[in-house]
Symmetry: C2
Subunit: 215 residues, 2 copies
Amino acid sequence: MANPTEAPESGRTYGGESATDRQARQRRQFMDAGLTLFGSIGYRATTVRLLCKQAGLIDRYFYKNFSDTEELLAAIYTESMDQIQSDVMAALMGELPSGDTERIVTAGLDTFFKAFENSRVARVCWLEVLGVSPRIDALYARRTVQFTELLISVAQRLLPRWPASGDEAHYIAMALIGGVTQSAAHWLLSGYRAPRKVLVTANALLLRSTMGALG
Amino acid sequence: MANPTEAPESGRTYGGESATDRQARQRRQFMDAGLTLFGSIGYRATTVRLLCKQAGLIDRYFYKNFSDTEELLAAIYTESMDQIQSDVMAALMGELPSGDTERIVTAGLDTFFKAFENSRVARVCWLEVLGVSPRIDALYARRTVQFTELLISVAQRLLPRWPASGDEAHYIAMALIGGVTQSAAHWLLSGYRAPRKVLVTANALLLRSTMGALG
DNA sequence: TATTTCTGATGACGCATGTCGTCAAATAGC
DNA sequence: GCTATTTGACGACATGCGTCATCAGAAATA
């Protein structure tokens, strides 16, 4: 043994898995368990014991991957929103060559709302992340800004006369994103009463008319 | 004593206050303490002991007024939003005779955002209430619907061609309200970087252009 | 003044939590 | 096969929580 006093830097293979593979699998199990529990009983009601029971692992491996439940929440939120954001961007890019504003906007919105038809994802991303801690609040705020910037970049492509900079244009984009996100949150809270198409067309009209007024 | 076995139905005066006056004062003290704590350290971090210390009272009087902290949160949220809603309605009614859509919308928005310049109120109403429990979620959702109905009724007055009913018109109004509320939430999270006027004009443009497209 | 009610302070209870330690069984490397 | 590591099960510890009981002193009533 090279350094018997310290913890081993590289673990052994066990059950046909290398140490890093095991760690990655355990991390994924906790991420899945977290999405399930945060998205059903809520973040506040979720304890480390429950997470372990859901993941089928013991607490030792939880603390090896996350410092606390808040860090797990941050990881799940970031992963979910990364996925959704890249899906939306892919949908936008797919329709961008058409040059049809209506189609581009609709494609982006439809992909967005489709992602939040998963109520667990929706609940975590719109309800559970808010008011947990300053750190999580900052995460949420930064993500909102990212979507705002995405909207602005698309608007600049579609509308040459769109005011690129300026606080007001920025806050208009922010309000538009807010309309979309709040629609998603209320969609969830209403038990998905309306079909997705209604959400998409309503928000498309909002985007189209506002961008028309500015572009 | 009429009924020695039961708790006294009507208390005695004490310290120059009647029993009902005392109870009302204690309730108000807890409401103020709740707004202070929920709006600073957050709902999750607030305990009954802290609330009592902040209110300068003991726990017995807390439980005489509220069953738990969740009921206190609901009471504070309802009171705050009632106040804001009636302020906004008063502002709208004050400008309604002018018939000037721009002035009416701006007056309502300015009153709305002015209320949330109080960061404690803003934090409780936009961050802390979310994801606490199904009951509080329902309270939040219902309030959003109320603001949506308020917007629709104003739109019907200003725009004779506004589609009164229909899911889509309803969700458009919901998205518009969402834009306003999300602006308020992000305004808080960004530390009120932009002046209120910017928020008002940005959201006024959103409302004006969308209502123009429909009216 | 004597009695009853109200108040604030303090402590105790049962419970759930995060976290850590122990111990036997399972697995891998020599 | 022997030894070291990894795993899961279980329990212990301190902490903080909501909640309730007690008790001495203040204030009102008769």
